[in-house]
């Protein structure tokens, strides 16, 4: 196989995406630590570093467009560039959710802890693991792993329903904790959304590897 100019570009594009993925994973991990360890300084760092992630997104957009315009990729190359261009804003949104969790941590850390956090860390760990596996599967172009990861989202959804019921009951029982309970509820919602976004990444990997659109197809 001849070495093609486009190969260098595609490798670089993949590297940029994985760097963004790493930064996103890191943001989620640290936002949850800021919450569970009541570390407001760490929450501030997560928020400050969101700007870097935004810049990474812009750079990948710019580079994807450049490849489309100058290299005119086809077939697998084309699907790769399109997948990266679609995964990039998903990662940026996951990082935004991590930022929102950091925001919630700042509020929650100023008040006494209303409950021991069990399901929220479980949701966060599941989401983080899904994200890591989704990015690994994308790198390895392994659609089978992507399909497994999609199924993992169920675990997050179940935990979210438990969190929702529990916090709602706590708010009804004790109106003095409503503010903190509402913020925890937001955290749960952010984690639930992250699970959905990781599913979208997995669907794009199936598109990349099999040229199949499984989004909205009913396939789970």
């Amino acid at each position: 196989m001849e070495h093609r100019i486009i190969d260098q570009k595609l490798d670089l594009l993949r590297d940029k995406l994985l760097l963004l993925g790493g930064a996103t994973e890191n943001a989620l991990h640290r936002a949850m630590r800021a919450l569970t360890e009541r570390d407001s300084e760490l929450a501030q760092k997560v928020l400050a570093e969101d700007e870097i992630i935004d810049q990474m997104e812009v750079e990948i957009d710019r580079f994807s467009i450049e490849i489309l315009a100058l290299q005119q990729p086809a077939a697998h190359d084309l699907r790769f560039v399109i997948s990266v261009a679609k995964i990039t804003p998903i990662l940026e949104r996951i990082a935004d959710h991590a930022g929102s969790i950091a925001d919630a941590a700042l509020v929650l850390n100023d008040s006494p802890q209303i409950k021991e956090l069990v399901d929220l860390p479980l949701m966060a760990n599941t989401a983080a693991e899904m994200l890591r596996r989704a990015l690994d599967a994308f790198t390895a172009e392994d659609a089978a792993v992507s399909r497994e990861v999609i199924k993992q989202d169920q675990k997050i959804n179940e935990a979210y329903r438990r969190v929702f019921d529990e916090l709602l009951k706590m708010m009804v029982d004790d109106s003095t904790i409503t503010n903190s309970a509402a913020h925890l509820l937001f955290v749960g919602k952010h984690l639930e959304r992250i699970g959905d976004y990781v599913k979208d990444i997995c669907e794009l990997n199936v598109y990349l590897t099999e040229a199949a659109f499984i989004k909205h197809s009913g396939e789970k």
């Binding site: 196989m1 093609r4 486009i6 990729p73 086809a74 077939a75 190359d77 084309l78 040229a211």
Partner: protein, 252 residues
């Protein structure tokens, strides 16, 4: 959709050297079909089997069937002149006659005796030039030499000349490869326009051109048809690894 051309198990030989192997393909009516493949893959040879243009090369022969509108053009008794009127051809290098613009288009009409009278001839020449998107550029200088036209205009004149004898299929062998991007774009727009009335088969080395203008693409290699699929599929998810490697420039 009706098939205009059905080729079955076609082999083609230059002397003893086999150039095409067992080609079978169905070309639907009023579509643009692109033939792509590396140099020497047989795509131009195959194009020329569709109106028996290869007959002009000594010591060549074909085996198999090329059926156009239900008739095998390689069966005995085929009127080759009538065949080439029905299946017209445009070449890579524009080749106008050393005559006026008008006469270039009128020539085929005259030798085929298609026109009724002088007025009818003028109507036919104008229609062919309009259909080839050239009329507005040449209507005031029809009696001047065709050699005064630009390369792109000469190529469209050749297309007008092909259209003038009312063909049903137009074969184009790299019609834009010698043209600049603007002239190329005009030819491409013309190809897309012409498919309303004609079945068009176009050989091109320009992958993007095949992607832009054709409904289906056939990929040839070493005299064999590797893949024939809708162009959308061919350029996003081809069935064959060889096709993928070729259209993404992994070999050339």
């Amino acid at each position: 959709m009706d098939n205009k051309i059905t080729v079955s198990n076609l082999d083609f030989f230059y002397g003893k050297a086999q150039a095409l192997y067992d080609i079978s393909i169905k070309i639907p009516e009023r579509e643009v079909i692109a033939f792509i493949g590396p140099s020497g893959c047989g795509k131009s040879t195959f194009l020329r089997t569709l109106n028996r243009m290869n007959d002009t090369i000594p010591d060549t022969h074909a085996k198999g069937e090329v059926i156009i509108d239900g008739e095998n053009i390689y069966a005995g008794g085929t009127d080759v002149v009538a065949l080439r009127r029905k299946v017209g051809m445009v070449f890579q290098k524009s080749n106008p006659f050393p005559k006026s613009i008008f006469e270039n288009v009128a020539y085929g009409i005259r030798i085929n005796g298609i026109h009724k009278d002088k007025a009818d001839m003028e109507v036919r020449v104008e229609k062919a030039l309009r259909d080839a998107a050239l009329w507005e550029e040449v209507k005031d200088r029809l009696s001047t030499s065709a050699f005064g036209l630009s390369g792109g205009q000469q190529q469209r004149l050749c297309i007008a000349r092909a259209l003038a004898v009312q063909p049903e299929v137009i074969l184009m062998d790299e019609p834009a490869s010698a043209l600049d991007p603007i002239a190329t774009q005009k030819i491409e727009e013309l190809v897309v326009e012409l498919k309303k009335d004609y079945t068009i088969v176009i050989v091109t080395h320009n992958m993007q051109q095949a992607a832009r203008v054709s409904d289906r693409t056939a990929f040839f290699m070493l005299g064999k048809l590797v893949e024939f699929n809708p162009t959308k599929k061919m350029f996003t998810n081809p069935d064959e690894k060889l096709t993928e490697d070729y259209i993404t420039g992994r070999f050339g």
